[in-house]
C-alpha cells in the first residue's frame, strides 16, 4: 500500500538550494503556510518562487530565501501591500519576473503540457514584454497573421499546496469555493508536496459525494503532511476564514526588527502545534469568520 505521509522536515529535506517552487492558493486564501514557515526555518537558499502572491512572499523575502519571484501580484487583500515584499522589491533584493496573472496560469499550463510555448494576447504591447525580454512573440500561421505572446513554460521543481483532506496514497479533496490554479501548478511540477487539514482513509474521502472537489489524480503527489489549520493565517474556506487580526500584526511590520520579532513569536517554534497555540489555538482559528467584501 502506497504511503506518502511525510513530516514537515522531510518535505524540506527533499528540496534543495536554487529550486523553483510553486506555491498554491491565491493571496490570502489556502496558502500552504505550515510548509512555508518550514521553508523560512530551513537552510535552503536562492529559491525561485512562482505564486499568486500572499503573505508567504513577504515571509520568504524577509528571511532571505528568495532569489527570484515569478508573480502577477503580491496582495494581502484587506491590507493591499505586503510590507516585506515591498521592502525587498524597493531594495532590489530579489529578481522579478512580473507577469499578468493570466500569463502565470498560461505559463504553468505550457509547462504542464510539455509545450515550448502557448500563444496568448495577454501581455501584448505591455511592459511585461519589455521587462522580460526572454518572452518572444509568435505570428499566427493562419490567414489572420496576428502576432501573439509565445508564453514559455513555467517549469517547477516542486509545488506546495494545501488541501482539506487527503488519503495516504495522494488522493485529495479541496472543498474551497475556488480551486484556484493548484491543479495546473501541480501538473507543472516535478514533485508535489501537499499539506492536508487531515489525512483520512480513502473511504472517508467520500469520493461519490465529493467528486467535483478532487483537484487531480494521486500520481502527481510526492508527499503528504498532515497539518490541521496549516493554511493559517490565510483562510481555508469553508473550514476557517482569514485571520485578519494576525495579518494586521504581520502587515504592520516591514522593518528587519519587526520581522525578527514576528519570526521569533510565530515561526521559530518547536512544531506546528506550537504555532497553533501561539496564534490563539484551534478554537480561535475555527471561529474565524469568512471575510466580507
Amino acid at each position: 500500500m502506497l504511503n506518502k505521509r511525510l513530516d514537515i522536515d522531510s518535505v524540506i529535506g527533499r528540496l534543495s538550494d536554487g529550486m523553483t517552487i510553486g506555491i498554491g492558493g491565491w493571496a490570502t486564501r489556502r496558502k500552504p503556510m505550515a510548509l512555508v514557515r518550514a521553508l523560512v526555518r530551513s537552510s535552503l537558499k536562492d529559491l525561485t518562487v512562482v505564486s499568486y502572491g500572499g503573505p508567504e512572499v513577504g515571509m520568504l523575502a524577509a528571511s532571505g530565501k528568495l532569489k527570484k519571484l515569478v508573480f502577477g501580484f503580491v496582495s494581502l487583500d484587506h491590507f493591499p501591500l505586503d510590507p516585506y515584499f515591498r521592502a525587498a522589491r524597493q531594495a532590489a533584493a530579489l529578481e522579478v519576473m512580473e507577469l499578468d496573472e493570466g500569463m502565470v496560469y498560461w505559463g504553468l499550463r505550457t509547462a504542464a503540457m510539455g509545450m515550448p510555448f502557448l500563444p496568448t494576447r495577454v501581455g501584448i504591447g505591455s511592459d511585461v514584454l519589455k521587462n522580460n525580454p526572454d518572452i518572444k512573440l509568435v505570428t499566427s500561421p493562419y490567414a489572420d497573421g496576428e502576432e501573439f505572446v509565445a508564453m514559455p513554460p513555467l517549469k517547477l521543481d516542486a509545488a506546495l499546496i494545501h488541501v482539506h483532506a487527503a488519503d495516504q496514497r495522494g488522493n485529495c479533496i479541496v472543498k474551497s469555493p475556488d480551486p484556484f490554479f493548484d491543479e495546473i501548478m501541480s501538473r507543472a511540477a516535478k514533485q508535489v508536496f501537499v499539506s492536508a487539514e487531515k489525512i483520512v482513509s480513502t473511504e472517508e474521502l467520500n469520493i461519490p459525494e465529493n467528486t467535483r472537489f478532487t483537484p487531480f489524480e494521486r500520481s502527481l503527489v510526492t508527499g503528504i503532511v498532515e497539518a490541521p489549520f496549516g493554511a493559517h493565517p490565510t483562510g481555508s474556506s469553508p473550514d476557517y476564514g482569514i485571520d485578519m487580526g494576525h495579518l494586521k500584526e504581520y502587515a504592520g511590520g516591514g522593518t528587519p526588527e519587526a520581522w525578527a520579532a514576528y519570526r521569533q513569536k510565530y515561526v521559530d517554534l518547536k512544531d506546528h502545534a506550537a504555532y497553533i497555540a501561539a496564534v490563539g489555538g484551534k478554537e480561535h482559528i475555527s471561529a474565524l469568520p469568512a471575510p466580507i467584501y
Partner: protein, 264 residues
Amino acid sequence: MTTESEYTLAELCIAAAAEAWRGEGETLATGIGLLPRLAVGLAVLTFSPDLMMSDSENMLVSEPIPVGPRKGYKPKFENWLPYDRVFSLLWSGNRHAMVGPVQVDRFGQTNISVIGDYKKPKAALLGVRGFPGNTASHPNSMFVPTHNTRSFVAGEVDVVAGIGYNPARFPKGYPKGLDLRMIVTDLAVMDFGGANHGIQVRSLHPGVTFEKVQENTGFPLLKAANMGTTPAPTAEQLKLIRERLDPHNLRATVFKDNPAGDRR
C-alpha cells in the same frame, strides 16, 4: 425627474461612473474598488438590469450586495465564477471593468506595478495583476479619485501594465480587444473619443473649469464637441445609493473631507 439640491462628490461620481455600462446587456461588469462597485450596482438597479456581477470572490449574484456590514442580508447567488472561468470569460471579451490605476498617460496606458525605476523602484505597488490581459481583451474604464499631474502623467506611465492607444507599441495595429471607454475623476468625466483615440473631456463636474482639469493633467486634453456639466444624480439614484447600495455611507471615505458634488 427631480434632482436633489445637495449631493456629495462621491454620489456625483457614482452616477457618472454608472453610465459606463449604459446600454450593455449580459456582460460581466466588474468595479474594482468601492466607488466603481457602487456604480455597477447603480447601473444594474436602473438602466442595465441584465449585467452580470460577482460578489468580489467567486460567485455571481443577481442583485448588488450592499457594501459594508450586511446585517442579515443574504447575497442572491445565481452562479459560480472561479478564477479559471474568469480568465476564460475575460479573454473572450465579455467583460467591462472599471479599474483604479495609479498612473494614466495620454495613450490611456495604465500603471499599478511600481513607481520610479523598474529595477529599484521608489514604490512597489501590487504588480501588473490582470491589467495587460484585461486591456488586450475587453472594454475597460477607469476611476481616478485624485486628478493631478502625478496620476495623469506627462510622457508614458512608469510601467505599462494596461495597454493603450500608443501607436509606437502597435505598428501592426491595435489588438481587437483593446477598447478604453470612460475615465471618471474628482474633476471631470473623460473618454477616448478624440481624434486617434485622444482623451477628451466629456463633462466637467459642477464648479470645475476646463482650465483646472488641464492644469492638473500632464498632457494636453481635448474638449468633446458637446462638453457639458456632469449631471447631478437624480432623486431615484440618490435613494438607491443611500438606502440600498451603501447604507453605511462608506462612500464618504472615497474623497478627502467628503466634499459636496456641486462646487460652484
